[in-house]
Subunit: 333 residues, 2 copies
């Protein structure tokens, strides 16, 4: 597989250097250990929101650093958890005096390393709370995960909590809000083609010419089953029904509908899936009032799509609608 | 090749329906003939900016409709020019009483059909000017093109002219500005892997496992040569040098640097290329003051990258920095 890289062990470092050059107004990038913080420095009197995880899911999380979203992001190597020292230093640098919220996707390495970082930060006298995101209904337990995997709800939690954090909410309020977003969101995805790990040159898995992986994980972990490809409307329904059953969502619920591209899937196809997903949500009596369509949590060059449905309440709506100014999500400023 | 579609002949229609559902605040979609206009209706007293072209390059152009950019976009079928009646109706609907600027990429079908539409619009009494974009230095004449192909400068021209148009500029001023942007911009791209036409299921071309197409066109048209893949920094230099030589750009020029993803290439790799491109531009004495990195003019699921360098002047800078509110580009509002 061909890639635009120089040396396998420099991919993350060089991409971070590129982000620093491309977004000097928004981001400051630190290397060794690797993290991204806002160019404006820590926001005094505001809770700092920090996330991180393996690289290869861009724009998550580095592309979400900026006003109204994250204060810092800690990228690990490709599909590899960030280390405790990265998280500790990023949290310390981004801390604005009101405590730190860690938003952590439920993968064993991420959870452990954020936990170790939180202990180190506690010893330093910083107040830290962590919320684990585990919204993927596809499988219970998986490669790298005990329990459900954290996927699309992470993007929504970072935006919603980020918006509310700018308005001065306390660490306790934000941790509760983040927990509520995770508790009200459900996701599932599928892959038409695997991704290639640029550090190893290996495909994450292999699929027959007419096969898809239904319930795929964002590192190529197996999902529920391998099935023959179907029409987009059928596949969308196969993703939506387990999502809607799981919460369960009820007639009259107001929701945010997020159709995420896993990397290589053209926007044209994402909108075809979006059409089917919103049509189905409406048929089930849901009121779709907020939307997001695009590649926001990717898996390198994987072809596929994931859907997240979030039941909104007033506070979440306020956080979602608040101004945001990051490389990947920007509105109202 | 697998895709998220229902029926090959409904891909564009269903994607447009998805865009309408996903962006009700920004877009209104008309089908038969297909076009997208601003949800707010025509802006009275403003020149209407209209573009269009074959589908498969999303977010271009439909994702660029909105305040500060296009007033309407006319998507053809996949890699197929929009028809004169589409362009005529979109122009009529979007017209705000101050004339219409057509921004046309230099492909034979696009040029002819926009020309025919302009004649029909003239008969209807509308003032129309057209600017042809032909910024691709890769080849002179090509499949579908006499002269150079229109690529990345299209995105920049639509944003810059769109910003200046909101401030009330006349049709003549905007046509001159658009011509100046095209005249001051140069581009070139390369492909690591072909795209698949979802209407036919065919790959646009085939490449050996270590080959790339250098100077690729956005429909998979051949470029300058087929070469062995090199390191990202080497490939970036191979794209940048012909671009910088062609205008030519001079020491001290202030430029906008745009690194465009062709579809399947991860953001991680685009930032690696961006790093090399800005480093090289700086080494050549250019002052990079504006940047864009991401998949803005794609070729379905093609893997690859294209670079555009635009020499900025005050008016272009003003247009670029102006607020914009479209599905794909948004800032300042």
């Amino acid at each position: 597989m061909k890639q635009l890289t120089n040396a396998p062990d420099q991919i993350v470092n060089e991409a971070l250097a590129g982000m620093a050059l491309a977004h000097p107004d928004l981001l400051r990038v630190h290397q060794s250990p690797n993290y991204l913080v806002r160019a404006s420095g820590p926001t005094l009197g505001k809770v700092a929101l920090i996330s991180g995880g393996g690289s290869g899911h861009e724009p998550m999380h580095g592309g979400f650093v900026g006003h109204g979203m994250l204060d810092a992001a800690c990228p690990g190597e490709i599909f590899t958890s960030p280390t405790p020292d990265q998280i500790q230093e990023a949290s310390t640098v981004a801390h604005g005096g009101k405590g730190v919220l860690h938003i952590v996707k439920n993968y064993t390495g991420d959870v452990l390393n954020f936990q170790m970082a939180a202990e180190l930060l506690h010893e330093d006298g910083l107040e830290v709370q962590a919320v684990i995101i585990d919204d993927d209904v596809a499988v219970k337990d998986s490669l790298y995960t005990a329990g459900r995997r954290g996927v699309g709800a992470t993007v929504l939690a970072e935006k919603i909590c980020g918006g509310v954090a700018e308005a001065g909410a306390s660490l306790g309020v934000l941790a509760n809000l983040c927990t509520a977003v995770n508790g009200s969101a459900r996701s599932m995805g599928l892959a038409l083609a695997p991704c290639t790990n640029p550090e190893t040159g290996q495909s994450s898995f292999t699929l027959g010419h007419d096969e898809i992986e239904f319930g795929i994980g964002i590192h190529g972990e197996p999902g529920r089953q391998r099935i023959k490809i179907e029409r987009a409307d059928t596949l969308t329904e196969m993703l939506m029904l387990p999502i809607l059953d799981d919460l369960p969502f009820k007639k009259g619920d107001e929701v945010l509908l997020f159709v995420d591209g896993l990397g290589a899937t053209p926007l044209l196809e994402l909108y075809i899936v979006y059409r089917a997903a919103e049509t189905l949500a409406t048929k089930h009596g849901l009121k779709v009032s907020r939307r997001l369509v695009g590649p926001y949590m990717t898996s390198l060059d994987m072809a596929g799509v994931a859907i997240t449905v979030l039941r909104l309440n007033d506070e979440m709506r306020k956080g979602w609608d608040a101004p945001v100014c990051t490389p990947a999500l920007r509105w109202g400023m």
